[in-house]
């Protein structure tokens, strides 16, 4: 008997190239985001931030702020509402201790935004500063092994004997690679409008998960979940930084509870987002590869050093992809953390895989060069028949097909592997390749309701659309599960008034929410048949997929880059990026393509532009705005093409789909770095690839 968790739908609406349902409100700007929710007489909240990286608040003088016309209240650690939490990040204004520079030490609520801002300026805070420690490096004596790495992977793994493999191999590569500190920087700053009516709390919050946010708020304020409602129909980008609540939503709720009957609006400034909204830890990756003359790996190892915050631990799972990517009998991975006086790192698009496929994929390129083997061929030779880590067969693995198809489309066959040979009008030209991977994740706790309303099928689930296309793609899934035209389906998402949904994270949305919708549709049809009466209603929930016990489930891809490096200035341009992916069935080719090219664009940005520069003297990110933290602009992007293979995977979920929100950013930076090396002969192992890392070698 077919398991209902993977019984396949007949795709009709699924696979259709439909325009986004939320398109018109977005192109006109009439879609209302969290800060813009309707409010008769809003109040405004602005924050006071610590100017020391570590220490203690001795005293605050709020008199001038409180005397300011329009100011309603000032709150500091001396008088803020008590919260129930052991989460060091969210315990805002609960203690006088300062754990990082930029930490919130006060808030001002006023009738106007201008008065709130001026009021926050007028709050005087006196500190007893203490020495701070904010510099990540490998030689620290206090590096430690966390209990688990995000979300619950083993910290270290070891199979076979890596040292023996390295000692006896024909070819050995031992190199260290680094990725920078990155900030998610969604275009919409983290924002909340909060309203307390004396009994119940309503927050319009920009979040990747209304239900998880509600759970956190209810616990913090000691409220029953029924008394907290979180609303979020549109999210102006998140990329992980809106996956877990940050202090803005807590402070907005606290402020609202202090001024009952007023809507309180709070948005981080762009600068505040560099201290308060999470970021990707910098990573230091020591890679070891041991291979025979033909390039077959005997051993692969990664030892990762990265940072966390003293205020809250987050351990990025950077070493995880090395555990399963290539066939090597001897494998070892470790993670060590330095706990610093810095803001808490958190999720950023493909935590683990994104930084964790930089070192390995550049190392593979270096090994290919050393052995005189084509880098595509080297990867093909190390294709594992089963998952090296679990020993399970793959539900589907089409990395080789992606590499072959990509090589074909990119014109790889004509490539001269020798670096630094091609020059066109003063530009050195080269090409590079890297692999992509991302697991198929399924979350627990998602339920959908389907109801017949005025002759339509109304689907309700508290899911999120971060620009990922959920408004449209869930409707496509519902249509096929109900076997009706997609035009007959109304979607309602982004509100805790609807049934519970998991966070939009780990590229799990379609698998998780889609499965709930399919189960609801099947229950609906079973109960009411093809002609349901008005108000007919059924629910369905996501269930465990027993096939996960039998198969390893991942999406794969191959990315190809062309780089041009100016011989005189070292300026790097990437005229062409091609990604070929195998990610199961694609629900909507239009929104899927956008997600994949979007990930690749962010990967290009990571390769060439992005880095948060932490000032060791003060402990803050000095380039904390969009003029100085460079993200790729329209003029930095030329041709970016994403394609996918037809892949039928009956084991992942009823749609046969794998998540695609993150895989696009995995491997891009390595492909670019490899292309830059091919162009110039210079191997840049430390991101971003800026001209200062190329010029000294080019000058020679």
């Amino acid at each position: 008997m077919t398991d209902p968790s993977t019984e396949q739908l007949r795709p009709v609406a699924i696979g259709s190239d439909l325009e986004r349902r939320d398109g018109f409100p977005k192109v006109t700007g009439t879609a209302r985001y969290a800060y813009e929710s309707e409010a008769a007489s809003p109040a405004y909240c602005r924050l006071v931030q610590s100017t020391v990286a570590r220490g203690r608040v001795d005293s605050v003088d709020t008199a001038a702020a409180e005397a300011l016309d329009g100011v309603l209240l000032v709150r500091t650690a001396f008088d803020a509402e008590s919260l129930e939490t052991d989460d060091g990040e969210l315990a805002v204004l609960q203690s006088r201790e300062v754990a990082f520079r930029g930490q919130v030490v006060g808030m001002v609520v006023a009738d106007t935004a201008e008065a709130a801002l001026r009021g926050a300026d007028l709050v005087e805070v006196a500190y007893s500063p203490a020495p701070h420690d904010v510099v990540l490096r490998t030689g620290r004596g206090d590096l430690y092994a966390p209990e688990k790495v995000n979300p619950s992977f083993e910290t270290d793994t070891s199979d076979g004997d890596i040292d023996e493999a390295v000692a006896t191999a024909t070819a050995v590569l031992d190199r260290t690679y680094t990725t920078a500190m990155y900030h998610n920087n969604p275009l919409e700053p983290h924002a909340t409008t909060a309203y307390w009516d004396g009994e119940a709390l309503t927050v319009w919050d920009s979040t990747q998960g209304v239900h998880p946010t509600r759970a956190v708020l209810a616990d913090l304020f000691g409220l029953d979940r029924e008394r907290v409602r979180v609303v979020c129909p549109y999210v102006g980008g998140g990329f992980g930084s809106k996956g877990e609540p940050h202090v803005h939503v807590v402070l907005a709720a606290m402020a609202a509870r202090a001024v009952p009957g007023r809507h309180v609006r709070l948005a981080f400034t762009r600068q505040q987002m560099f201290a308060l909204a999470g970021y990707r830890t910098p990573t230091i990756q020591r890679m070891r590869l041991a291979a025979d003359q033909s390039g077959r790996l005997a051993g692969i190892a990664i030892d990762v050093v990265e940072q966390t915050a003293k205020v809250k631990e987050f351990a990025e799972q950077t070493g995880v992809p090395t555990r399963m990517m290539y066939a090597a009998p001897h494998r070892s991975t470790t993670h060590r953390l330095a706990a610093l006086d810095v803001p808490a790192p958190s999720w950023m698009r493909a935590p683990g895989e994104c930084p964790g496929m930089f070192g390995p994929e550049v190392a593979m390129d270096e090994l290919a060069e050393e052995l005189g083997i084509d880098p595509v061929e080297l990867r093909v030779r190390n294709e594992p028949e089963v998952d090296p880590e679990s020993g399970l067969p793959w539900s589907s693995r089409n990395l080789v097909a992606c590499l072959r198809e990509g090589a074909d489309r990119f014109g790889w066959a004509d490539r001269d592997p020798r670096p630094g040979l091609r020059e066109e009008d003063g530009w050195l030209v080269g090409t590079g390749v890297a692999s992509s991977v991302y697991p198929v994740n399924r979350m627990a706790d998602s339920t959908a309701t389907i109801r017949r309303e005025q002759g339509r099928y109304v689907v309700e689930i508290g899911a999120a659309d971060l620009g990922t296309g959920t408004w449209t793609t869930l409707a496509q899934i519902a249509a096929d599960a109900l076997e009706v035209d997609v035009a007959e389906v109304t979607m309602r998402i982004g509100d805790t008034a609807y049934p519970i949904a998991s966070v939009a994270g780990g590229s799990s949305g379609m698998t998780t929410w889609g499965s709930a919708v399919v189960n609801a549709a099947r229950a609906f049809r079973e109960k009411f048949g093809p002609e349901p009466p008005e108000d007919a209603e059924a629910q369905g929930s996501t269930e465990d997929n027993p096939a996960t016990e039998r198969f390893a489930m991942y999406a794969f891809g191959a990315q190809f880059a062309q780089a041009r490096v100016n011989r005189d200035t070292g300026e790097v341009r990437v005229p062409r990026l091609l990604g070929v992916f195998a990610a199961g069935r694609i629900i909507n080719p239009r929104t899927a393509r956008s997600q994949l090219i979007g990930g690749m664009t962010m990967g290009l940005s990571m390769a060439l532009h992005e880095q948060s520069v932490l000032d060791p003297r003060f402990g803050h990110v000095v380039n904390h705005d969009l003029a100085e933290y460079h993200i790729a602009t329209c003029a930095d992007v030329a041709e970016i093409e994403a394609r996918w293979l037809e892949e039928h995977d009956p084991h992942v979920n009823p749609m046969g789909s794998k998540g695609i929100g993150e895989i696009g950013i995995v491997g891009t930076a390595a492909a670019v770095a490899n292309a830059v090396h091919h162009a110039t002969g210079v191997r840049v192992r430390n991101l971003p690839i800026t001209l200062d890392k190329l010029l000294p070698a080019l000058a020679g």
């Binding site: 398109g23 409100p25 920087n185 700053p189 990922t468 705005d625 003029a627």
Partner: protein
């Protein structure tokens, strides 16, 4: 300190009193509840607040409302004709030139401005020959749209959308010119 101003916004006329520290962006968003222009940085670094003032693109966060007295402001909401999207908006929809939608109203206003600037023959930083009218190449469009950041990474689709809008505008202009010529010939 307050000052009284008159603003034309998307065809409506508003008389309002603003704090002299208030930006045009905050006046639109907070006082008039015109939330189509977005606030992404408040420092003129991201382009999300782009509106058209007297037909030219302007960053609303860098204009003090008090200095905009008498201005005619068009937002992305005002570019649409009721339920019918402006040709630039239609092109954005056709090319899926957005994801989260937050930078989109600014991109749309900026693109509308680019169309006019190209039609007027204004050069850009990548125009090779300043003595000729710039062609609406992908490089010209990407350069002119580079002040509008998109973190979702929709740039390739944005450029395609602007290309489509330029083509459509050019066709329309050619048709109008042809009609005019035909009309004159009949006379």
């Amino acid at each position: 300190m307050d000052t009284a101003i008159t603003l034309g916004v998307d065809g409506e006329v508003y008389r309002l009193t603003v704090d002299t520290r208030t930006t045009l962006l905050d006046a639109l968003r907070e006082q008039l509840d015109v939330t189509s222009p977005k606030k992404g940085c408040d420092h003129g670094q991201c382009g999300a607040c782009t509106v058209l003032v007297g037909g030219r693109r302007v960053l609303a966060c860098l204009v003090l409302a008090g200095t905009a007295d008498g201005a005619e402001v068009t937002t992305a909401a005002g570019l649409a004709d009721g339920d019918s999207p402006h040709p630039v908006q239609r092109a954005f929809l056709d090319n899926d030139a957005f994801q989260c939608g937050y930078c989109t109203p600014g991109q749309v206003c900026s693109a509308a401005g680019v169309l006019d600037e190209l039609a007027a023959g204004w050069p850009s930083n990548v125009t090779a020959d300043l003595t000729t009218e710039p062609a609406a190449s992908r490089a010209e469009i990407a350069e002119r749209m580079a002040g509008n950041l998109c973190r979702c990474g929709a740039y390739v689709n944005i450029v395609a959308a602007v290309e489509q809008a330029v083509e459509q505008a050019t066709e329309q202009a050619t048709e109008q010119a042809a009609e005019q010529t035909a009309g004159q010939a009949r006379r």
